[in-house]
């Protein structure tokens, strides 16, 4: 029996277990939408296509499933590019479906035509232009398979309008096998034995875990390894939640705004086991001084991550979960000697660094310190909330002062650093986890980049809580200008901003404001207790900086502490 392309699409999506799509209709996808509403797939109508992709991203991270978007051709498609590029940098599995003008018009500069496959080639894991309705079912299945397997990433499928109308039998292969795509899941055993030998002999080992541990859900294996071998753990921004922030072996985050002890340990360690990381420049600082005394073991599923930025002694290509569980098995069979005694000097040294420079800020009884707001938020949510962030100072304070205990609880645009990510991502996360408290830690700059999604949150009763650290500046750039450009605040002062309380109310949400430190807890308690979406506007110290800070390009031990 022949069905049309839009029906094939819906069937293929349902077979992939898609239960929610974030999207925005338009001429080229009108047939797809006509079919979509006949299914039981939920559609979340965002207010801007960029919001759709970030929401799907947040949904993917909070649920562990593939996030799906549907947008129209031309501007609908180009509006998704930032979201796609962010998901690509952070390895988030997405399938983005774009409408395209009818096949016969492609290349003719038709109305709302754009070569989105060409535009997104460098920022997708793979993409397709469906030229024949016969291929549609297979392509959708392939797209999901590619998005979620290996190192995950976004896949875009561009569907011309006529393909949606054309008829074909529903034909989808049982299993996807691509001769040109075979990720390596199982690590090389000989390499793993080298790792166990290094763990046995190392005097000052540390683990550096990243987003790969979160994505592969190998946090339990990571914890087992760290605790069994008594190795302290740091993570990248993307790795927050892979290791509990309350564990005695926790070092805090590494890198530009990492903790003093984490960066000092990096410089002093003799073994670094890097798991699911890519040694981003915000982590390493000057690469030739990074972990210069250490043998580096690098475990990652993507071979291109290995030796791209940092030379390593033992490369291990494999899935983090499989690799870590095999490593734990190997270690169980190894006589490690008296580990506690062997590590005590090293752990003692780290304790010393911890006490020498803890995360701190000067409290003030008249002006709200942004760190204080995040600290209070952390106290009230106790690691149970899903924390989403925008980008800039708000993101770093959230990373420093929220103690993240579990993966999927810290959702941030790590690689691309997209302002305007947090609110739509929070909407997506709330869709995935209706049971959870979802908070977006925002700045007054970033929140305005996708503020229109408040309407989405209100329309679908998604009770996301927005905490604005309102300093009237694009704070992180202002901080750089203060520290490195002799306080020339070129164009970073937002002289005019809306009244966020009234704005929240205009959207039909609740708006609250705190202007004094003693109002912070009250406003947070009141806001978090509301059943619907809330904007909490905290008027904070205007010129507060994020510390510690490693100047760009410096060694990560060259920290500005206050």
């Amino acid at each position: 029996m022949k069905i049309n392309g839009t029906q094939i699409l819906m069937k293929a999506l349902q077979e992939e277990g898609v239960d929610v799509i974030f999207g925005y209709p338009g001429g080229a996808v009108i047939d797809i939408y006509d079919e979509l509403v006949k299914t039981d797939i939920r559609h979340i109508l965002v207010r801007h296509e960029q919001g759709a992709v970030h929401a799907a991203d947040g949904y993917a991270r909070a649920s562990g499933k593939v996030g799906v978007c549907l947008v129209t051709s031309g501007p609908g498609a180009t509006n998704t590019v930032t979201g796609i590029a962010s998901a690509y940098m952070d390895s988030i599995p997405l399938v983005v479906i774009t409408g395209q003008v009818p096949s016969a018009l492609i290349g003719n500069d038709a109305f709302q035509e754009v070569d989105i496959v060409g535009i997104t080639r460098p920022c997708t894991k793979h993409n397709y232009l469906v030229q024949n309705v016969e291929d549609l079912g297979r392509i959708i299945k392939e797209a999901f398979y590619i998005a979620r397997s290996g190192r995950p990433g976004p896949v875009l499928v561009d569907i011309p309008k006529d393909v949606g109308k054309a008829l074909a039998a529903y034909k989808v292969p049982k299993e996807i096998k691509l001769k040109s795509y075979n990720p390596t899941y199982n690590p090389n055993l000989r390499q793993l034995k080298k790792v166990t030998d290094l763990i046995k002999t190392a005097r000052r080992p540390m683990i550096f875990a990243g987003g790969g541990v979160v994505l592969s859900k190998s946090h339990m294996e990571l914890r087992e390894l760290a605790r069994k071998a008594q190795i302290p753990v740091t993570t990248s921004l993307m790795g927050l939640g892979a290791f509990p922030a309350t564990d005695p072996l926790w070092l805090g985050m590494i890198g530009m705004h990492g903790t003093y002890r984490s960066n000092m340990a990096t410089a002093a360690c003799d073994l670094m086991i890097a798991i699911g990381v890519r040694f981003d420049d915000r982590v390493t600082g000057r690469t030739d001084t990074f972990a210069a005394q250490a043998q580096i073991v690098h475990i990652d599923i993507d071979p291109t991550s290995i030796r791209k930025n940092i030379p390593v002694s033992v490369p291990v290509v494999g899935d983090c979960k499989i690799t870590l569980s095999q490593l734990n098995e190997l270690l169980a069979d190894t006589d490690m000697g008296d580990l506690k005694a062997k590590r005590s000097g090293w752990l003692h040294q780290i304790e010393g660094w911890k006490n020498a420079a803890r995360l701190s800020y000067e409290q003030d009884d008249k002006i709200i310190k942004p760190q204080f707001v995040v600290q209070k938020l952390n106290e009230l949510t106790q690691g149970k909330a899903i924390i989403c962030t925008e980008v800039g100072q708000n993101q770093m304070w959230a990373a420093q002062y929220c103690q993240i205990e579990e993966p999927g609880h810290f959702i941030t645009s790590g690689g691309l650093g997209v302002m305007g990510f947090g609110l739509p991502a929070a909407i997506g996360a709330q869709m995935a986890r209706p049971d959870k408290l979802v908070v977006d830690v925002a700045g007054d700059g970033s929140i305005q980049m996708n503020i229109q999604e408040m309407a989405t949150a209100v329309q679908y009763c998604l009770p996301v809580k927005i905490v604005i650290l309102n300093n009237g500046y694009l704070g992180m750039v202002r901080q750089w200008q203060e520290l490195f450009y002799e306080k020339r605040y070129a164009c970073t002062c937002m002289e005019h901003a809306p009244d966020f309380v009234r704005l929240a109310e205009a959207y039909g949400a609740v708006g609250l404001r705190a202007e004094k430190p003693d109002e912070v807890e009250k406003v947070l308690r009141e806001g978090l207790a509301v059943k619907g979406p809330v904007i909490m506007d905290f008027v904070v110290a205007k010129e507060e900086c994020v510390y510690p800070m490693v100047p760009a390009g410096a060694a990560i031990t060259e920290m500005l502490l206050v």
């Binding site: 496959v117 080639r121 460098p122 001769k179 040109s180 071979p303 291109t304 030796r307």
Partner: protein
Amino acid sequence: MTNEKHVLSILVDNQPGVLSRISGLFSGRGYNIESLCVAETTDPNISRLTVVTKANQPLVEQIKKQLNKLINIIKVHELTGSKYVHRELALIKVNAKTENRAEILRIVDIFRGKIVDVGPDHYTIEVTGDEGKMEAILTLLRPIGIKEIARTGTIALFRDSK
């Protein structure tokens, strides 16, 4: 670390857009392309691309890994060195006046080339060979006057059947 020439032979799905994925990878990541040839193999679904790039050893490793990461790429081989046959074809149009026609013919003969087109004041020479041979014939023809040249870029294969 010195930059050396590396010959990469890449088997890819013969599909629209694949060449663009590869050239986009090179330009996007700042890799160099000295030459690039592409044509179908015996299997019409598979094409072979031969890319010559200049890079140091760690970089060429990274290039190979990045190429392998592209979904439509089936296999990447490095064919640098003496275990492989490298060839290039060039069409060279030279000034051919009565007084130097004999000299040109002698040079073409030495390099086992062919004259494929003749005009009142030109010869077009077809010559194949490795990079060294190409450079040698061009050095000899240059004083006579090269009007135009078209080169295919290097293609390469394993000497042993593999």
